[in-house]
């Protein structure tokens, strides 16, 4: 049996090309007719890949024809990559572990691969070969995540802010957030906090209409711009992004307010350029000030750490590839594997064998 993978990803094709080969309703049928005994389509925003098992070799061009979205013939031939047998396993293991992703170590791809596998299993398109391949891939991904720090730290400004807030406050649902200046970046950061359960949101802006609009969009409440400083006594997180030329918050202004709330930390995210908060505010007890540069630097640091972990992850993957290859060479019919076969649907691709 020939196990192979054919695909396009962010490495070798732009989004327009990937869109053109995202598959269609007839893809399953077309793959069966082309000679694939088992086949699975993994389609995400960064990749379109077919994992398949066939008795005879199915050409890359035939697979590409099955993937054309509008069902017609493709009039340009992009560089599809093709991996066979252990190279195919190695590629899938790298994909599910997040090593092949645009952001190294991202974990979304694992969920997408699981969904694709479940869908193929439900229709019977994935048989015992793909079952073994994908189950192993999920195991590898879990092991890579557990035994390396490939997923450590946040890699975007919004998620770094959320990570830091959780490191300071633990659970975020009880946190009170004040957004000063309703810009696009602050709105994105607020949305990241909201997705982690923050419910008490106060928006303050020089333009009250804009404050109302953003407050409505994020389910918060607008606060008059003249009152934002008073709010600092109550809030836990302050996000500033105004276009002020001079710092709005200084040590002198904040210190008296902090005396009233000495046992509660204050996390300030200053994403304005020029900065809204004087840097010496960070020296105050219980205040943690992060500007856009420090947030970006942490994101880059996390990404660098993730890259450092690639070698360790590759080592784990290589061990699994060797084991998987040995298992395939032994054949899948031995008794120990029999119990792990997936249920086969009625419209299994394997019915074409008969």
């Amino acid at each position: 049996m020939n196990l192979f993978c054919v695909g396009l990803s962010h490495h070798n094709a732009d989004v327009e090309t990937r869109e053109h080969f995202a598959g269609n309703a007839e893809t399953d049928c077309a793959l069966r007719n082309s000679g694939c005994v088992e086949a699975l389509l993994l389609s995400t925003c960064n990749r379109v890949e077919i994992y398949a098992a066939s008795k005879k070799r199915v050409s890359t061009d035939e697979i590409a024809r099955c993937l054309v979205r509008d069902g017609g013939s493709h009039h340009f031939a992009p560089a599809f990559y093709r991996y066979e047998d252990e190279k195919c396993a190695q590629h899938l293991f790298r994909v599910t572990s997040g090593l092949d992703s645009m952001v190294v170590g991202e974990t979304e791809i694992l969920g997408q691969a699981k969904k694709a596998y479940e869908a193929a299993r439900a229709t019977g398109a994935a048989g015992r070969y793909l079952h073994r391949l994908f189950q192993r891939a999920f195991r590898v991904a879990k092991q890579v995540r557990t035994h390396t720090e490939i997923t450590r730290g946040a890699v975007s400004v919004g998620s770094v802010a959320v990570d830091l807030a959780r490191k300071i406050f633990g659970d975020l649902p009880n946190c009170k957030v004040l957004v000063l200046g309703a810009g696009e970046t602050s709105e994105r950061t607020v949305r990241a906090l909201v997705s982690h359960g923050v419910a008490d949101l106060r928006i303050s802006n020089r333009s009250p209409e804009r404050a109302e609009a953003v407050a409505h969009a994020v389910n918060g409440r607008a606060v008059a711009f003249e009152q934002w400083l008073e709010q600092c006594g109550e809030i836990d997180i302050l996000i500033t992004s105004t276009s002020s030329d001079v710092p709005l918050l200084s040590q002198e202004k904040l210190a008296p307010i902090l005396r009233e709330r000495i046992d509660r930390p204050l996390f300030i995210i200053d994403i304005a350029v020029p900065r809204d908060v004087a840097p010496d505010v960070n020296a105050l007890d219980g205040v943690y000030l992060y500007d856009i540069d420090s947030l970006q630097s942490i994101a880059e640091q996390s990404l660098a750490t993730r890259r450092e972990q690639i070698a360790a992850a590759e080592q784990i993957i290589s061990q699994h590839v060797t084991e998987f290859d040995r298992m395939i060479a032994r054949g899948l019919n031995c008794a120990e594997n029999a119990s792990e076969h997936p249920p086969i649907g009625e419209n299994s691709l394997r019915t074409s064998e008969s």
């Binding site: 720090e149 450590r152 730290g153 490191k167 046992d263 420090s294």
Partner: protein, 263 residues
């Protein structure tokens, strides 16, 4: 024979430290189950040591500085076993093990295990007073360790230099809550120990009473300062470290005078 149990216990804690160092050098820091298991095993051997020693003495094994130090180390491990999982502070094992090893190594290497001639007279109030005070030391030690963790976390957040350990430390607010609870535990137990001291039925040396009241006042002040907002959490964490260092030094004084006092 009982010293071998203590040596094995010390080795268990050393394994926990070695594991932490190896993980940190590899850039991966996962102190969860392994440290808890190693510290747990060390605690079992500590308990076995104290049990064997207690049977031989026919009373609570806190009759000399050696036993007192081991008892404090045992109390620290006990509080870690209780508090660590309850407050999801499993990383505390990585900080607890070095302190326990330090105490036990000192106990094993220093010539302080001087046996008493003859059987000591039983005095249940005295034993209760001494043992409950030493268990309180365990809580103060854990508060000190949580204080160290707080300061490490706080420093990294302030300087924006986030190391591997940062991602495994509990949130600042959780650590501060744990510090407060441990301070309360220690303070209540120590108060019990102090009060029971008045029922021992024999006069205690004045220096011992002054030292004990000094430790009690120090922790009372930290708690008062925490609730009256005199100190920021960072200062409370630092005071926990200073407080335990002072309490440990005074313990030596208390034990020394108690030894000269014990018949």
């Amino acid at each position: 024979m009982d010293r071998y149990l203590l040596i094995v216990s010390t080795l268990c804690f050393l394994v926990a430290i070695a594991h932490t160092i190896l993980e940190m050098r590899g850039g991966i820091f996962r102190p969860m189950q392994f440290n808890f298991f190693a510290v747990g095993l060390g605690f079992i051997f500590q308990t076995a040591f104290l049990s064997v020693r207690g049977h031989a003495l026919g009373r609570c094994p806190i009759t000399n500085l050696f036993e007192v130090i081991v008892f404090v180390a045992w109390s620290i491990a006990l509080f870690y076993m209780v508090v660590g999982p309850a407050y999801r502070l499993s990383l505390m094992g990585a900080f607890t093990a070095p302190l326990v090893v330090l105490l036990q190594l000192f106990a094993l290497l220093a010539p302080i295990d001087k046996p008493h001639r003859g059987r000591l007279p039983a005095n249940s109030w005295l034993e209760f007073h001494a043992s409950i005070s030493l268990v309180a030391y365990g809580a103060f030690a854990l508060a000190c360790i949580a204080g160290v963790m707080y300061l490490v976390q706080e420093r990294q957040l302030k300087t924006h230099q986030l190391h591997s350990i940062f991602y495994h430390l509990p949130p600042l607010t959780d650590l501060f809550a744990a510090i407060t609870r441990l301070l309360w535990w220690g303070f209540v137990l120590y108060t019990l120990g102090l009060v029971s001291g008045f029922f021992v039925g024999e006069p205690l040396p004045w220096i011992q009473i002054i030292c004990a009241i000094g430790v009690w006042s120090l922790y009372g002040l930290i708690l008062q300062g925490r609730y009256l907002h005199w100190f920021a959490p960072k200062r409370v964490a630092a005071l926990c470290i200073i407080g335990f260092s002072a309490a440990l030094s005074l313990l030596w004084g208390i034990t020394f005078t108690a030894r000269t006092h014990t018949p």
